[in-house]
Amino acid sequence: MKLLHPSRLHLQLSVIAALLLAAGAAYGAPSVTQQIEPAEIALGEAAQLTIATLGNTQTPIAPPVIAGLEFVAVGQSSQMESINGQTTSKNSVTYQVIPQRAGIFTIPGLLGGSPPLVLRVLASGVSAASSSPGAFSTLPAAGSAMVASATHLTQDGSAFVRLRLPKHQLYVGESMLVDIQVGLRDGLVATLNGLPSFAGDFFTLNNLSTKPEEAQEIIGGQPFTVLTWHSALAAVKPGTTSLTIDTPLTVRMQTMRPAAANRFRDPALNDVFNDPFFQNFFGGGTTEKEITLTSPPATISVMALPTQNRPEGFTGAVGHFKVSSELSAASTTVGDPLTLRLHVSGAGNFDRVRSAMLGSVDDWKTYPPTATFTAADATGYRGEKVFEQAVIAREPGTKILPGLAFSYFDPDAGRYETALTPPVNVTVMADVAGKAAANSLAQNVGAGTAPAVPFVSPGLRPDHADTGNSVASLVPRYFQPPFLAVPSALALAFIGAWFWLRRREQAANDGDAALQRATAQATATWLAQMDTAAAARDIQVFFSSARSALRQALAARWQVAAQSIGLEDIDAHLGPDGNDVRQLFARADEATYSGSDEDVGDLAHWKQVVLRQLKERPTQ
């Protein structure tokens, strides 16, 4: 067995130990990488620093503190991977690096895991943006990236407000997009008592939304909720001013017991247990205080618009615009209106974008234009304004509608621009109503004078002859209460008549039924008396009851009084068929006045006569 030399053995053990240590460090300790883009910028521009942490760490890595550089967090991301049961996470935070002065800055490596970075800042006026992709210029064209003002926290570190401006120089009337950001430390700020505002008369600010964008940002290792309002700031008058944004807040002030502070040796534990949540949990009290948060001042220079070469039709529009025009039809008839549209699109102060369209044009009658604006963003900074004008041809032939001009001031170029639209050829056909009528219409419409002599307009159909029939009110009669009473009264009268007739019929039906019931009852009584008299052989009572029963039945049939029925009525109503009835009436008279007797068999016959008549249905 060959023994190693002690010195070689020591060297090998050292290598193995170093490898093990490196592996342990790679597994347990996080690795940090940082990157800055671009490495060279001009003063007034901003670079972007990305710090990525790979490993199992929960501690956010704050950017270094370097005199002359400000770091503004603009975003962060997290990513987790699990390979063979081992979980690793990657967190990256992106900062905007804003230099305060020119020079060469060295950003040291963080946690020793990454090499230092060098940022070269050129003096103002030396443009590095063109050679350094990714740099954010502070003097950009409209719509370029914002540069935030410095982030100054309140004394208790509970909140901040900052203004993000695309540039610091603008012209009177010019609008620029601004972002107003209010950072609120979670748990320390109770309420936002109002929207951000600013004092002074140099600018106007568009209305701020009540629902700002919300994002999370870590500043100084503490999480903040950042509310961002996008708006447009318009310069009103020339001069140099400092713009600050004020925001009213209510913050919670901790009233922690002295002994409770710094009770832990480990600063990390102190950070955790000094958190407002744990302070409240352990009985630390809070009081609320209203404060007004003010952003660091941003110096803005507002320049007056040049008076030289100012176009005649300039209305104060400042920005970047494109124009185009269109006509509703390429051909028309004399007197028929056409719609001429001017589209002005782009970015700028659209409230000052105005156009008189066409004024007095030969062969054309023009009307005052109308304008509609369609915003392309929430601030109204970008969009399109469309002017519409009705024009009427006065003469037939091939006519030319002249092009439209729109003048504005380009703040980037620093000069006035006039955009022109091409003229439009229109074929105008003669109208059947005649040339004179068209001229008369065009001269009178819009001139504010009524025509002296009625005429037939090519567009309007002629007047009507007045028939003399008129109404006192335009309210339809079915909405006028006096007239509405007519159908109502009709309906009520018919309803009343209906019920009256119904009741009358019902009463009549009730009388007939009662009469029938009484007749039936009386007839039954007479028949019973007939049976009793027959049994007692009382001839007089038998025939008297039989006659009464017949009278009752015939009275109901003939609708006459029972007592008035005599032989004449029987002859009249029954004729030859009434012989039995006539004989029964005679027998009854004979029995009453002469007292003659009859045998039982005869009485049964007469009862059948009575029953037969009772079965006859009464005539209607």
């Binding site: 419409v445 025509p451 309007l460 009669r477 009709l490 008549a497």
Partner: protein, 231 residues
């Protein structure tokens, strides 16, 4: 008195009442409204370059003579000239409002009530003629339905107004110093809501609302005793 005599007398009395109601209407006067007069007035405003007043009077003329093609044509022409969108509305509103003039349809409705009432009463007395009387009842109901449909179609016009001033601002509150929400175009038709002092709350057909100066708009159907402009 028999039931037949009762119905006959009732019908005669109601007929006499209707005739009296018809004659009770004030006689036509020069201060009243007539379709030709409103149409000619609207034409004059159109020639004078005042589309708001022109549209107002065309709309009023259309109310009295809904089937007049000249009124429709001139109204369409003026609206086009003023770059206003064409007149819209539901199929029901368009058809029901074109049946006849509302005042004529009112008498149709009354005749319908009369027909229904008389035929129903007679059907009680003459059950054997129920078929003919039933047809008469159905015709009466049809007349009443036509009048009702027309009234439903016309009802929204009772609260419509026309902008008669140029570039009328609609404000957030009924005050001259209130912020302007939108600018209403002359001849634009609005729906009137409530009035407060010299301002009126209006709604556009796009669903937007605002307060406008009452003097800048005119109701299509002026309220009684409010003059020719209507407020």
């Amino acid at each position: 008195m028999t039931a037949r005599m009762t119905i006959a007398l009732l019908t005669l009395a109601l007929g006499a009442g209707l005739a009296h109601a018809a004659t009770a209407v004030p006689p036509p006067t020069s201060a009243g409204y007539s379709a030709p007069r409103l149409f000619n007035l609207a034409n004059a405003y159109a020639r004078d370059g005042r589309p708001g007043m022109a549209v107002l009077n065309y709309e009023r003329a259309r109310l009295l003579a809904p089937n007049d093609p000249d009124i429709r044509a001139n109204l369409r022409f003026v609206r086009t000239t003023a770059t206003l969108p064409p007149i819209t509305g539901t199929w029901f509103e368009r058809q029901a409002s074109k049946l006849a003039s509302p005042n004529a349809l009112f008498w149709f409705g009354c005749a319908g009530v009369l027909m229904v009432g008389v035929s129903l009463l007679l059907s009680r007395q003459y059950p054997r003629r129920r078929l003919a009387l039933g047809a008469c009842t159905a015709a009466g109901f049809a007349l009443m339905a036509v009048t009702l449909c027309n009234a439903l179609a016309i009802w929204p016009m009772m609260s419509e107004a026309v902008v008669i001033a140029r570039a009328t601002p609609a404000r957030v509150a009924p005050a001259s110093m209130a912020d302007s929400l939108m600018t209403l175009r002359e001849a634009q038709i609005l729906t009137v809501d409530t009035e407060l002092r010299d301002f009126t709350l209006v709604h556009t057909d796009m669903g937007r609302s605002g307060w406008v100066a009452t003097a800048d708009i005119a109701r299509v159907v002026p309220r009684a005793g409010k003059g020719i402009v209507g407020f």
